[in-house]
């Protein structure tokens, strides 16, 4: 479990990005963190892994404080940055150097993931293309078997077959003790993987809900006329009519469109709050 307790954070002490953020992240789920450019997504991830510290309040990851950066904490968490860095080492040298930091590292799985993502290298890792480097880091991170896995835009730079391989790998490594936390703009790449959605904007938490909860509170439809007398969070003209995200008054069980939900929640945060706070 990851707990944010009244966390405030700012890159300058005068201008805070997050103010009094309180959020609880449960094990056994894949979280999707959505936000516009500059909304503070990466900042949130860095606070969890301990490369940035809260100005006030706290973050606790499975009962540990990231800021202290104890080895006992660091061996339980892996953070894949958006722009990965690999040194001038071969795969084997990299593994020999970094795998010992992760006691649950599984070497067989590591090579299996590399094969599945079609990463093959004879030479040094830094000679690889960006996409290949990224896939290498993903394979290494998954093989580390950490309880917490944070990923910042993991599908950026991945080619079309790799995105589908990536989803398969994530589905195969998920278990009830793990937290997989993914920050992304590429919602469609991961729409069916995410079971909890967090939307941040302007340093504020606009939405934190499970996919089941979202389907319960709102429905996604295409209509010829926008219905009157119900809360419509978002609407958009489409080929077949108007796509709407609206209050789910009929107990529909529709599939989610996270893109439309995101637009609705960021354009209409007050209405979203109303819809999601009712029981």
């Amino acid at each position: 479990m990851i707990q944010f307790n009244n966390l405030s954070f700012g890159y300058s002490p005068k201008k805070l990005l997050y103010k009094n953020l309180t959020l609880e992240i449960q094990s056994g789920s894949i979280y999707g963190l959505l936000g516009k450019n500059g909304a503070g997504k990466s900042t949130l991830l860095k606070n969890m892994v301990g490369t940035l510290f809260p100005v006030e309040g706290s973050v606790m990851v499975n009962g540990m404080v990231p800021k202290t950066r104890k080895p006992s904490f660091l061996q339980t968490i892996y953070y894949i940055a958006e722009d990965v860095y690999v040194p001038a080492l071969t795969i084997k040298q990299y593994k020999n150097l970094f795998a010992p930091f992760y006691p649950l590292f599984d070497s067989d799985n590591f090579y299996r993931y590399l094969t599945e993502l079609e990463v093959s290298v004879d030479g040094k890792l830094n000679k690889l293309s960006f996409g290949q480097q990224k896939k290498f880091v993903i394979a290494f991170a998954l093989a580390c078997n950490t309880r917490v896995l944070l990923m910042d835009e993991p599908t950026n730079g991945l080619d079309i077959p790799s995105k589908s391989q990536f989803r398969k790998l994530i589905a195969s490594v998920m278990n009830e003790d793990r937290i997989i936390f993914i920050s992304t703009h590429q919602i469609r790449d991961l729409e069916n993987m995410i079971d909890n959605v967090i939307i941040v904007d302007d340093g504020k938490l606009l939405l934190h809900a499970s996919v089941a909860d979202i389907a319960d509170k709102v429905c996604f439809k295409t209509v010829s006329e926008i219905p009157a007398g119900v809360k419509v969070l978002y609407s958009e003209k489409m080929l077949r009519g108007t796509a709407v995200v609206m209050e789910n008054i009929d107990g529909d069980d529709s599939g989610l469109n996270l893109e439309q939900l995101f637009n609705g929640v960021t354009e209409n945060p007050a209405m979203a709050k109303q819809i999601f706070s009712t029981n």
Binding site: K168, A171, N192, M193, D195, A215, K221, G255, L256
Partner: protein, 129 residues
């Protein structure tokens, strides 16, 4: 007129399982794919497959033998058909009826085409059964 853009994923998975049973790809009383294997195959969250399997269990279409896995119920077929029919009437038929109305296609024409379709597509197969 309004229609759902798409179904909840867990229901799509439940339909997939039912389809496999109807097509006899997954025989009655046989063990079916584990939650993880189906999640990997479908590229979805394992929790979503869990939800689909819970749903199918409630409908007594599959059963969970602890520590062994999930199995198709021996008498699942009637309930599979009932579930698929419900889904069809609720989701697919309204779209079909709407087009029928807008394009002014008489029921008789549909009936004729329906018979022809069944003749061409299923006749031989039905004789084999």
């Amino acid at each position: 007129m309004e229609f759902r853009e798409k179904q909840a994923i867990y229901l799509q998975i439940a339909e997939y399982v039912c389809e496999q049973i109807l097509l006899k790809q997954w025989p009655l009383e046989a063990k079916i794919l584990s939650i993880r294997d189906l999640a990997v195959m479908m590229q979805v969250n394992p929790n979503t497959v869990q939800r689909a399997y819970d749903f199918l269990q409630q409908r007594e279409i599959i059963t969970n033998k602890r520590g062994v896995g999930y199995f198709v119920e021996g008498d699942a077929m009637a309930r599979v058909i009932a579930f698929r029919k419900e889904q069809f009437l609720e989701n697919e038929l309204p779209v079909f009826l709407r087009s029928m109305y807008l394009l002014d296609i008489p029921v008789e024409e549909i009936e004729m085409r329906y018979k022809k379709f069944i003749d061409e597509t299923f006749k031989e197969k039905k004789h084999e059964d």
